[in-house]
Symmetry: C2
Subunit: 386 residues, 2 copies
């Protein structure tokens, strides 16, 4: 039986990613495929590497997108830096810290998980205390927790890493291009991200960057990296001057990432961060007008991903269904312990606009009223915040 050609429904993406993809990125994606060793493609790779450095605030030579989604980025950083028995300290205050613990264990690490309440950030002392005087190889933290909406300040964590003798590994999947990242300034040794959040590129690549210190760990490993596919010792020979074939890169996804990065640089990073901050504030003002309370305190709240408590008496799934079916609008539900009690509303990249904010508030008010709730006008409150 032959399937029909697929035509996606008309959606507005305001979940925890993917976000709406600009027309020029989709057009770039659809350019004719060329070879992965074509001189024109090799030039494209160089430009992608350089723009990634600009967006990440780093001079790291080893800066490239891995051929998979964000979780492959996480795995790449961990399996390349860890050898069996290495001590690793991981901050766990959401789904992605939890995942890092799991991935690090599978790489043979001796993991110390530093737990904190979901919806909070870490300070330096928590890591230092958990280290209990021992030295660690790696300290891992999530910069923007996609499950909770928390922005983790990096300065205290970099200080903690110094104190415990560790390299600093940062999950920047949801932060990249939405809030400032200064990898070199924050003494980040390894960082991974994804493309489908504030870069507004489809999912399928995972930018990573390694400092010189982290690169030297790669060079002096006693055992090969357990993953051949993610072995940066091999991959850097394809990205470096040798251009040695490793695997066939996802050519068209690289076109798209190139265009998405180009749009970031063209907009200006500061302007882009300010845009996310502006619309994030307006969204929260509108939500509060409807008595929907943010889950995260203002100082550590991500502008690009707002988590709000589902009010008592309101059916989470029905609201999201109403938004999707009536408005073609996607917002996210809660993960893990927040399932059923939290909405996650993304304003990422091309989805960070006044149109998105007002549409979401309007649709949410409508969905709440459909469940018999009295709701004040959120649009004028949001409008006042602009």
């Amino acid at each position: 039986m032959t399937s029909s050609a697929f035509c996606p429904p008309n959606r507005v993406l305001m979940g925890p990613g993917p976000s709406d993809v600009p027309a020029s990125v989709l057009r770039a994606l659809a350019a004719p495929t060329i070879g992965h060793l074509d001189p024109a493609f090799l030039e494209l790779m160089d430009e992608v590497g350089q723009m990634l450095r600009d967006v990440l605030g780093t001079d790291n030579r080893l800066t490239l997108p891995m051929s998979g989604t964000g979780s492959l980025g996480m795995e790449t950083c961990l399996v390349n830096l860890i050898e069996p028995g290495d001590r690793v300290l991981v901050g766990v205050n959401g789904v992605f810290g939890t995942r890092m613990v799991e991935v690090a264990k599978r790489a043979g690490a001796e993991v110390t998980a530093v737990e904190a309440d979901w919806g909070t950030a870490f300070d330096e002392a928590q890591f230092v205390k958990a280290a209990a005087g021992r030295q660690f190889k790696l300290l891992c933290v999530v910069h923007a927790e996609t499950s909770t909406g928390v922005l983790q300040p990096l300065t205290p964590i970099a200080d903690a890493a110094d104190q415990v003798g560790a390299m600093l590994l940062v999950d920047a999947v949801t932060s990249l291009a939405g809030v400032p990242i200064e990898a070199d300034e924050h003494r980040v040794d390894a960082l991974y991200s994804g493309t489908q959040k504030c870069l507004s590129c489809p999912p399928g690549l995972a930018p990573v960057t390694f400092s010189e210190r982290a690169e030297s760990v790669l060079s002096s490993r006693s055992k090969p990296v357990q993953s051949w596919y993610a072995d940066l010792n091999l991959i850097r020979n394809y990205w470096g001057s040798a251009r040695a074939y490793h695997h066939t890169a996802p050519i068209n996804m690289m076109y798209a990432l190139h265009e998405a990065l180009r749009l970031c640089v063209e907009e200006g990073l500061d302007e882009r961060y300010a845009r996310h901050a502006l619309h994030g504030r307006a969204l929260v003002a509108g939500l509060q007008a409807m008595d929907l309370q943010p889950r995260v305190e203002e100082a550590i709240r991500l502008p690009q991903l707002t988590t709000v408590a589902v009010p008592d008496g309101i059916d989470d799934a029905k609201v999201r269904q109403h938004l999707l079916q009536t408005y073609g609008l996607e917002i996210g539900g809660g993960l893990g312990p927040m399932k059923g009690t939290t909405w996650r509303i993304g304003l990422m990249g091309a989805s960070a606009t006044r149109r998105h904010v007002m549409l979401c508030l309007t649709a949410l008010a409508d969905a709440l009223r459909a469940q018999g709730r009295q709701v004040a006008d959120p649009v004028s409150a949001a409008s006042d915040a602009y």
Copy 2:
């Protein structure tokens, strides 16, 4: 500094992959991104799974594309089936058998490599002899060796696997949709492939399929799979009825794969194989008219990937440069021991047409004449073969 928008040069892809991508696949790729848990996307996944089963000749429930390129497919099969200390038998007659040895070792396997000359295929006896009476967990073979152009008959290898008590793992990266694969009939337990060869989809996904027997190995592992990203125990919960979030799938690449599979089913698999065979024969006839000799004997020659010896006195790199610069035509050079002495000419998927055959022959004749070689007319010889 802002980069300019990237516009790929006009190419005709006749290397070892990627192949030319049909316009409808590129168009599918550029459809607006939707969420990975959107009901419309979940339906698309089901259709992709079913079409993959059709093209692979299997009823295996666990049939899905991994979120990476073909080499991730290889790693997925090996790390899911192997536990440290398992005995694995690998046929090595080219680059990809060599790679399987490496990946299997990194998964902790005790590997026995069965070597054969590059450009030849294996028979049953070679594996049975190498097994030397021992039982193995897994026997691995490459169905279509992209480095040599050899088609490996599977029936004798399935018999060998039975004799040594092993499950059969097949690399079908270059064979899928170009020559017949009957995974169930050939008692294949695990198989991986890529999208950028005879499916004529851009690179970025790796179809895999696991038999019931292989699935039961997944369920009864004593240790978790070393790769979290490639752990099929987790991934099958996203593809199965639970739809449990694991990682964000490469949404747009899935659109493209759906369309590429649809085109295969629409053309008819037998018709597609016949088309590859027809144009492969014509290409070889034209090459032979120019005294370019195929590297592989006819009985085991891949129609979709022809390897020919670079004639004495001809500069490999200059010829390929001439083709690329003057004709926008990409063919492949040799890998490993065949570097500099072999060309690899692909007629894969949308690149398997009379236009491609005649253009390649014409351009090659031109390039050889540019190096002072007397060359007979290849086009009439190819024409006679149609």
